[in-house]
Symmetry: C2
Subunit: 276 residues, 2 copies
């Protein structure tokens, strides 16, 4: 189902949903999912499309709700006003809800024609966003008096990367749990890069506010160990991610892709350090 | 999956999820779903449980988000403080999200063992809550400058009743679309009863604020045609619901159940009128 184009949808909701999804960021999660599926020789196109879009819809939904005044109160996202700034809080609330549901509707759209693989996809995606270890749990850790750092970061950021690799494998018919571990390592690298950009980045370049971790007293690798050690840790995690690619037909190509994408994260962090 | 009992869940989120689900209201939607399944001779117990819980979780989620300050700002629900009053806005936001996802995780839990029927259930449930005609769309109509009354009420209230009857039939292996029409009629009766209680009810008895339709300038049968005509319309819809039960093994019993439940709605409205 295309985002908010279905006839009969409240027009402002449809507009807000499109606004939340287009233009996107780097689409790093669906691209990772696609690369893993391709490394297994691919699979049914509609099923792959459902996996990619469900993962990206859930990511966009989490950004919309995370930006709301009762959470991070972020006014800028992907270089433009956040959904609640552009459309109001109540519509932002519904936009996030509608995108969460759209993720599952996307899977529903292919479930009858590929029931077994869709069932696995549904389970992977549900776990990535729900309780106890998905994004929603990760965001909810921010409402707790004590936050277990690793669990928090694994749920808030890692879970959807884990879903991306697992889903890419599942739609291609592979079920090796080591694909989940690859997603965990990539998610952890991404989280460190994000922590670095929150300290060092230029809002005009990264399209969202910086200094949020300090302002909101959030756990972060940079706050914990400083810029230098966090950068070193990022470098280590990138190597670990490249090493963690399990055996598959397109292993070499997938390792190159992960190395390329991860180096882009590292280079952004390094050039931000030079500019700072 | 039991509500918020999984190990590793942020404890306050788990508590807020349980608070939003227990103790429940009349559980009218899952009871309707179960009655329709039973009227077809039943089906796989785990699949039926997934249908019932997914529908109730989505209903509870919609109440949590609907009560939030940016929406109805309702401070009382089921006779106790709303989730955002008891746990704060940010946790209420995540509680609603987590319950939406839990609805789909419940289906995921049975999808591998009953893939075809789960696929139908997933589709029914997704349509009931998502765009263009589900609850979220219904709530989002409240953010539009012009509200098509019938579409608004059908989406906001009717969609989950429609899902209840369709899901009850689907888990038992039946696919007659006239089950959806039965849900529509029941949903429409329920909406009128709700409008009447908003005008006439006692907050201490119904456990939520009244006068919301006037305060928030919401379309309502009572505001449109007055108490007397709305009561008459409710009576007609109840008759129509009883007549709309499609042929099935347990038709007589199901008609009796619908008549009994619907009469309870009507009696509440009538005694509220006498008390007013």
């Amino acid at each position: 189902m295309a985002v908010g184009t279905a006839s009969g949808c409240p027009p402002r909701l449809a507009e807000a949903m499109r606004y939340a999804v287009f233009p996107g960021g780097h689409r790093i999660r669906p691209r990772l999912c696609l690369a893993v599926a391709a490394a297994h020789g691919g699979g049914d196109d509609r099923l792959i499309a459902a996996a990619l879009s469900s993962i990206e819809f859930l990511h966009c939904a989490s950004l919309v709700h995370d930006d709301m005044p009762c959470f991070d109160d972020g006014e800028l996202r992907r270089g433009k006003p956040s959904v609640h700034v552009a459309f109001g809080e109540s519509l932002a609330l519904m936009t996030g809800d509608a995108l969460i549901v759209l993720a599952f509707q996307s899977i529903a759209g292919v479930a009858s024609s590929a029931p077994q693989r869709s069932a696995q996809l549904l389970s992977i995606v549900g776990d990535a966003v729900g309780v106890p270890h998905g994004i929603v749990a990760g965001q909810a850790w921010e409402c707790e008096p004590a936050v277990p750092l690793k669990e928090y970061q694994r749920a808030k950021t890692g879970a959807l990367f884990r879903a991306a690799t697992l889903a890419g494998a599942a739609v291609a018919g592979a079920h090796d749990p080591s694909w989940g571990q690859l997603g965990d390592v990539i998610g952890s690298a991404y989280q460190i890069a994000d922590d670095l950009m929150d300290r060092l980045g230029d809002p005009a370049l990264i399209g969202k506010p910086v200094g949020q971790d300090d302002r909101l007293d959030r756990p972060s690798a940079v706050r914990e160990m400083g810029v230098k050690a966090a950068t070193e840790l990022l470098r280590e995690r990138i190597e670990a991610a490249v090493e963690a690619v399990p055996d598959c037909r397109g292993k070499h190509r997938l390792r190159m892709m992960i190395h390329y994408e991860a180096s882009r994260l590292l280079n952004s962090a390094l050039s931000a350090q030079r500019a700072a």
